[in-house]
Symmetry: C2
């Protein structure tokens, strides 16, 4: 029986800054039926509190602890595996602010880092790659990425996402990341289930992306629902090896499954 | 019979700015014996003319056309495969100046490029990755790298080389480079043989790196000589699947083979 609903945000609940038709009502119904909701996004730049506020403004009830972003997942991961370690972060201010606010011990000198965290960074530059080489040269022993998205869409076309920067750093320091959080990682799936305090079989995941949302849900054993309000068209779906349990036009049309 | 001698520069003839012991005399003997010499380096930042001047100051006879750098190899490759095409270059000024001087048609607007060339660039930044996405989004159809070196040594430790930047760009535009020049590419081996106008069997290659110098020479069928004046120690040599035909302490000690 469904106890928890894991919902992607962009392309599923919202599109850019706008609410998708019927999404607020569908989520209200889910809560009325006694299900718990967890919003799950790979966008690392806004904090859970900011997301909760944005959703509230759009008429969607959401508490900060019900939002798991790539950065909040990264914080959870660091707490579990690298507690009290010094972290050198290659990421833009919106991400590093969240890490600092969450109590992560950031260092400005890469040579003093135990762990290097890499995320979305529109100011990424050669000097960051040099810093990463210095960090691992001086004894850092873990590389953690916020999320694997190689590009992210903008009105002007795709721009490099966290994944592009993580890969650039991993390549130059010649080591694989120890973890890349966000969807579709197993670590993030487990963090989501921990937040809901539910087993995979009790959870339905709704999302618009096959390679992140649906792949992750399928792998851990959630019921998966692909919605057509985002990036996946029928042609892409037909050609993919990743197949959802259900396909619906929108979150509103998935109400029978939630 | 040996007719052509292909010689690596850094670690084989010079170390940084200094000539290695006996290298000038050994090369003079090679010329006296009637062999042709080609200097081959993956450093893309200096032009063949600059290298010839530097070598002359150190007492080594060298004409610009006897120096094949990663950038001059890239120019040769562009002439052969992308003649008269518009090129958007992600590389620092010392490299783009050489491309421009060689007649490559550089464009400042990535969207107008047919080919994207990537090389050593200490000013590499996120904006360059965006530009590469725009270039291929607008129809560019070739990605060319100057050389594959992921890092290059400096007194302060390794820093990212051309290869790190090429890989970062290739990853974000989700296409493999059509060619990466420099050693150990077959393209560069062929360009070197063309310059010497010799068959591989007539050539001896001397270098200090297994994965670039020796790998390339072996693959095309040159006689290969590893010298101990550079980066390869006995431990590395013993552990490598790449093995030279001969090992000598220095270029001076390799005279019997040249």
């Amino acid at each position: 029986m469904t106890r928890g609903v894991v919902v992607d945000l962009d392309g599923t609940v919202v599109s850019g800054d706008a609410l998708l038709d019927g999404a607020a009502d569908a989520l209200a119904d889910v809560r009325d039926a006694g299900r718990d909701v967890l919003f799950l996004t790979n966008n690392p730049t806004r904090s859970p509190a900011e997301y909760a506020q944005r959703l509230a403004r759009l008429g969607v009830d959401a508490r900060p602890e019900e939002v798991l972003t790539a950065t909040s997942a990264t914080v959870d991961y660091l707490r579990e595996h690298h507690l009290d370690e010094s972290v050198f972060a290659i990421a833009e201010e919106s991400v590093t602010d969240q890490l600092r606010d969450a109590g992560v011990s950031l260092v400005a000198d890469a040579r003093r880092a135990d762990t290097v965290v890499v995320g979305y960074d529109r100011e990424f530059a050669y000097a960051d790659m040099v810093a990463a080489l210095r960090a691992f040269g001086a004894g850092a022993d873990a590389l953690v990425g916020t999320d694997p998205d190689i590009t992210v869409p903008t009105p002007d076309g795709p721009v490099p996402g966290s994944g592009a920067i993580i890969d650039a750093v991993a390549n130059v320091v010649e080591r694989d990341p120890d973890a890349v959080l966000g969807k579709p990682s197993d670590v993030t799936a487990r963090l989501a289930l921990d937040r809901l305090d539910r087993s995979p079989a009790e959870c339905v995941l709704v999302g618009d992306r096959l390679d992140t949302d649906i792949a992750m849900g399928n792998r851990v054993g959630m019921t998966t629902v692909l919605v057509r309000t985002g990036v996946t068209d029928d042609e892409t779906l037909a050609a993919s090896t990743v197949q959802p349990d259900y396909v619906r036009d929108s979150l509103a049309d998935a109400r029978d499954l939630l």
